[in-house]
């Protein structure tokens, strides 16, 4: 199981990387952490003409605060995000979710930009970007543009990125919401069968003003469950509201059968995980965690 031959290019800047992508006209792949790409190359599921290594591009891996946002460079490794004090303080949901990605070895190498561009429908990073309302900054040969996470993912391994586009940064707005996350995987560290993230803004003693649910693994792409979120906003997360949200998630989902679970099983799990994640959110609120 060895890759088919390919040309190896090393980009010294994002400008150079997108110029190379442009030159290969869709037959080149960017190599960042390689934790998804290299297995695909090894299995010859991908046989690009060229692999463009972007790991040497300087200043693309920072985590910094800027004007109400946390800006994370596309080359930031999962471990760096996991251990970042800024992420821990500002984006505890991201700190929590990143620990579910792969294992220590994978997190040493895997990058946030690579993960989003790869767009695995079960990917935790894509779910975090959606749940946290991130903006994805994309560079092309003609300039940079910003894409909201909810407009970014189109389908399995399929995004709005054009062949000569490169993700260069992900921006997460600060928030003060209580957050929670739960996922089901067949084995520890495996791709998830289903995952749910919740954010809620407390209101009064036990009420919740805005609640947002994001769901992974239950459709061809991760999604923000708008109907379910609406069913939970301005409630105290009473059992009937939670049940309505679970039903709305199932309604919005388009689960499919694959090697890890059947569509029916995913639909069965979804309301259960919605309830669990909301219970966790409530518990964290009462513990004073945000």
């Amino acid at each position: 199981m060895k890759p088919a031959p390919f040309a190896y290019e090393r980009a010294a800047s994002a400008d150079e990387a997108v110029a190379m992508l442009d030159r290969y006209q869709g037959d080149a792949r960017l190599l960042a952490g390689g934790q998804s790409l290299v297995p695909l190359l090894n299995m010859r599921l991908m046989q690009p003409e060229a692999v463009i290594d972007v790991n040497r591009i300087p200043d693309l891996d920072g985590v910094r605060e800027d004007n109400g946002h946390v800006r994370i460079g596309a080359l930031a490794r999962y471990s760096a995000i996991e251990w970042s004090p800024i992420v821990g303080a500002r984006l505890p949901l991201l700190s929590e979710i990143v620990r579910y990605i792969g294992d220590r070895q994978v997190r040493t190498r895997g990058t946030i930009g690579g993960s989003l561009a790869h767009a695995d429908p079960t990917g935790e990073m894509a779910l975090a970007a959606l749940a946290l309302d991130a903006t994805i900054v994309v560079q092309s040969p003609t300039g940079t543009r910003e894409i909201a996470a909810r407009d970014f993912f189109l389908g399995p391994y399929f995004t709005v990125l054009e062949p000569a586009d490169m993700v260069v940064e992900v921006r997460f707005p600060h928030h003060t919401m209580v957050t929670a996350f739960a996922e089901h995987a067949r084995r520890h560290g495996d791709f998830c069968v289903i995952s749910v993230a919740a954010l809620g803004e407390p209101d009064g003693d036990a009420g919740w003003k805005t609640v947002r649910l994001a769901v992974g693994g239950a459709s061809h792409r991760p999604f923000v469950a708008d109907e379910a979120s609406a069913a939970l906003s301005n409630t105290a997360l009473e059992p009937d509201a939670v049940e309505a949200a679970g039903a709305a998630c199932v309604e919005a989902a388009e689960p499919s059968d694959d090697i890890r679970a059947s569509a029916d099983y995913r639909a069965h799990l979804l309301p259960i995980y919605v309830r669990r994640v909301l219970d966790q959110m409530k518990a964290r609120r009462s513990q004073g965690a945000t």
Binding site: M1, K2, P3, A4, P5, F6, A7, Y8, L31, G34, Q35, V38, P39, L41, N42, M43, V51, D53, N55, S79, R99, G102, D103, R104, Q105, V106, T108, R109, H188, G189
Partner: protein
């Protein structure tokens, strides 16, 4: 198809290495076939089993899903770096706790543990399981591996 070879210069177990490699050469194949360092094992070749774990600049990675050309300029540590007159403290802990049976996964567990110890954290057993989850063992059931790693992390030497 003949591939253009690319020169790589890196440090492997403290020694400078220069070699010309095909771009598609994985780091683990480079270590085993080009350098003869067969202590790093190959399992799944898709980044799942962790047998090929080595340290890249001190951090554990799976060398089957990193290209050798990417290691240019890097410092790689394989299990051979632990060779000496006496057993390395991690090796001794695995021996004493019976943390291995067939031994195929052992270099990967030991290198992962060495990196953990470098981080200098006091890691409870539950978190230790998380940290070691990237390496599979099909013999032991993991309990003795956990005990070995705990012993090693707590040891004074």
């Amino acid at each position: 198809m003949t591939q253009t070879l690319i020169d790589v210069r890196l440090t492997v177990n403290g020694e400078p290495v220069e070699h010309a490699v095909e771009p598609r050469r994985s780091l683990v194949d480079f270590l085993r076939h080009d350098l003869g360092l067969t202590g790093t094992h190959v399992g799944c070749e898709q980044g799942v089993c962790g047998m090929c774990t080595v340290l890249l600049d001190g951090e554990p990675i799976k060398s089957c899903i990193m290209l050798a050309v990417q290691a240019d300029g890097a410092e790689i540590t394989t299990t051979e770096a632990l060779n000496g007159e006496e057993l390395h403290p991690a090796q001794r802990a695995f021996k004493e706790a019976h943390g291995l049976q067939c031994g195929y996964c052992t270099p990967a567990f030991i290198l992962t543990s060495v990196a953990l110890r470098e981080r200098g954290l006091d890691i409870p057993r539950e978190e230790l399981k998380e940290e070691l989850a990237g390496v599979l063992c099909r013999c032991t059931g993991y309990q003795n591996i956990l005990t070995a790693v705990e012993t090693y992390l707590a040891a004074d030497d």
